[in-house]
Symmetry: C2
Subunit: 252 residues, 2 copies
Amino acid sequence: VNLILLEPAEVSERAAESPGSRVSLSGPRANHLLKVLKVAPGSEVRVGILDGPCGIGTVQSIVDGTVALHCAFEATVPSPPRVDLLLALPRPKVMRRLWAQIAALGVGQIILTNAERVERNYFDTHVLTPECYGPLLIDGLQQARDTRRPQVSIHKQFKVLIEDHLDTLFPSGLRLLAEPAATKPVAAIVRESGDDRILLAIGPEGGWNRFETALLRAHGFQSGGMGPRTLRTDTACVALLAIVHDARINVR
Amino acid sequence: VNLILLEPAEVSERAAESPGSRVSLSGPRANHLLKVLKVAPGSEVRVGILDGPCGIGTVQSIVDGTVALHCAFEATVPSPPRVDLLLALPRPKVMRRLWAQIAALGVGQIILTNAERVERNYFDTHVLTPECYGPLLIDGLQQARDTRRPQVSIHKQFKVLIEDHLDTLFPSGLRLLAEPAATKPVAAIVRESGDDRILLAIGPEGGWNRFETALLRAHGFQSGGMGPRTLRTDTACVALLAIVHDARINVR
């Protein structure tokens, strides 16, 4: 954990706007401060308000495992990452591991979808409940020192998603379809694009079927290659998000 | 599995050199052929000889779960990936997941090392035995359609490794140290480098200590930045290997 994330409700409204505010932590975050970071009164730690600004917390007191912090927050809120992810739902064990990794790498929204090669029962898992993925996303944000929680939407009907909802979810920007066989690499397309936002589509193990690929292309997706090696969904997801972010950073 | 890997001993020597050779498979690979790929006599599947050529296997017969293939191998053997990895040993659970991912992404050798922030007991795990990691590496190769198994070496003494063994393990090429704080991105250094091989060093959670960083620099490592987000070792490993491979592909 490289940043302690606070819920807005933990920071009083008046205080969040003023230069300093008091926050009391107990539970896992207090344990982390005490056992891992080994804080003492006077220690400074990085803090952030969920979907709000980052700041610095100074330890005021430690009483019975409760850590009192005096926090000073920055005036500006970090922008959400400009990369979004359209992902054919992987099996629950893989999805469970991906939540924190995706949040750490940085995405504005995670759009999970069905596809022919996604098993229907994948949608019944608790891994898709906010109770499960919320804390995992926060783990990833705390690792990466970000406060902006990815928006999550889950779609059981691929065609309805692409035809009826995609333009609302992702109104403008580069739509990029990662395909093992495409000749032009993903990074080259990103570098040449002037779009402010990117939506990266990653298919199921075994790939999108022909209908799905055609529908994505008909809705503006360009195909980008992933190199000669075929990767599993989880590896591909991390690899492609890293490449897309890297290609953007090197442009600007 | 996108390629069925065969041990050289499973293919008779004479046969491997001739245009066709017979191979009999039972066990997990036969199960995969029958249950997942649903082969029948006449089906063609991608095959490869470990550290040897790729080829095409044609199913001749299926008897009692044993699949007989007639294999035709290519004349040339794929080159080993030109990226090597120097990795501070992560905790066993993470290392266990990384083996296949590293092999799938493609590395010539995996050099695992101790560091101050690596716990000593990580070295006692069965995850570091060839019996454990061998099959995981093969899983990754079969996923990525590669036959070249990464060389693995394990070093409990960081200083001895860097001072006494590194020049033998990695005699020439770009030595690259991934550091969150470095200003020049890893990809930019790779693109500007004319070196044929790259050794990518990734530290433990919490980073290399000052002595370790200084020793790596004294032995020719250049620092490359990883962007503003701090990643966990496993995510960083996949992300950086993807970025380095991508930067190389886009140069050539």
